[in-house]
Symmetry: C2
Subunit: 227 residues, 2 copies
């Protein structure tokens, strides 16, 4: 199987949010797509380990903000590279609470959707939530939506290999070896390890088990490149 | 609900094929997306009225060709605007039969996937087929995949309003009023009508029932514009 083939699939990038029992959260996902037009329905694929997963499973509602091409790296970092278990992702963004009580992120958003889950499909590591679309709103009619391909290409092009824009440079120790995921640009640093997945700080990239995968996007080790 | 918001969702364009009992067919779809990476699985949404739908439902296998930006309008027309009930869509394309017996379209293809259906989800007018990916092959490493947005924009930009490239000009009667779907560019002509959906030739656009929708993409009447 040639994993490079997977890069040929086209996706947008979205913030998917939900709220339940005073817990609200959101994450950046790419698998958002219309399923039927009568009635309008939409499906999303969400990793079961994701904090928002459980909130959607409880509330049966989710909202989708379509990100634009000029989305700030602050938004990407906040919603894509952090867990809502550790921080309030909404602290520094513009949020509007919808009639259904859903938190709608307005920053860098071209369109907004609100959905009520009508079907939940167990797909192993992920759940497919199929939602009836309750509302669809065009926020920025002339904005280009951000695609996953554009995101990869632009940030590969603009940022020096050792300091992609979304990584605090203060985070990188002088001389330390960094391995970058060629899919999502997550950077593995031995000093930090990957404690969430049993990798102690101090573990070199070479010593990672062969079945270790990118904690952000699930890419295998061979898809990492040394900076 | 603002249907313009739906244009902000990003999709690629794909030929989805299958074979069962000597019947093989394929169609152009845009809802193809990875669901999980362990194991690699992929979902597609297929209209139940689609001939390929029943073939996939029987065979439990499907293949996906990722179309490239330079895909010929012949391919788009053959697989996107015809039914395999009426013609052999494979007559004039390069097809390879895979080890699993699936017809793989190679024209204008950047990557190929073969899937075995592991879950079938009833989604009303459509079925979601979730497939385990059996093979993934990169055919053209440097090709840009065709996106639905690019397809809409380029063909809107290059072709005169009365003669989009994929419509035979000989098909258009001099002086006849044409209404074009702003979503998929299907053209409604009174002289042809829409017999597959009970609309007799000679029916003017104005006389179409209010609940008539684009036979290609399902857009409502208000999304058509007179050329």
């Amino acid at each position: 199987m040639d994993f490079q083939a997977f890069y040929q699939l086209s996706y947008g990038l979205y913030i998917i949010t939900s709220v339940w029992d005073n817990k609200k959260n959101g994450f950046i996902g790419n698998t958002v797509f219309q399923v039927t037009s009568k009635p309008p329905t939409m499906a999303i694929s969400v990793n079961k380990e994701n904090y928002t997963h459980d909130i959607i499973a409880e509330s049966k509602f989710f909202a989708v903000s379509v990100l634009t091409r000029n989305t700030s790296m602050d938004i990407i970092r906040t919603f894509g590279y952090n867990s809502g278990k550790d921080m309030d992702k909404f602290a520094n963004v513009t949020v509007q609470t919808s009639e259904n009580g859903l938190p709608l992120v307005l920053n860098d958003t071209s369109a907004l959707f609100e959905c009520r889950v009508i079907k939940t499909v167990d797909a192993g590591t992920h759940t497919l939530f199929i939602g009836e679309i309750l509302s669809a709103e065009l926020v920025q009619p002339n904005a280009d939506p951000l695609t996953y391909k554009y995101y990869r290409e632009v940030h590969k092009g603009k940022a020096p290999a050792k300091a992609p824009t979304f990584i605090d440079e203060t985070d990188i120790k002088a001389g330390e070896e960094i391995y970058t995921c060629q899919i999502c640009h997550y950077q593995y640093k031995a000093s930090a390890g990957d404690p969430d997945h049993g990798i102690a700080p101090g573990t070199s990239f070479e010593d990672l088990p062969d079945d270790w995968t990118c904690p952000v996007c699930g890419a295998t080790k061979d898809l990492f490149e040394k900076n």
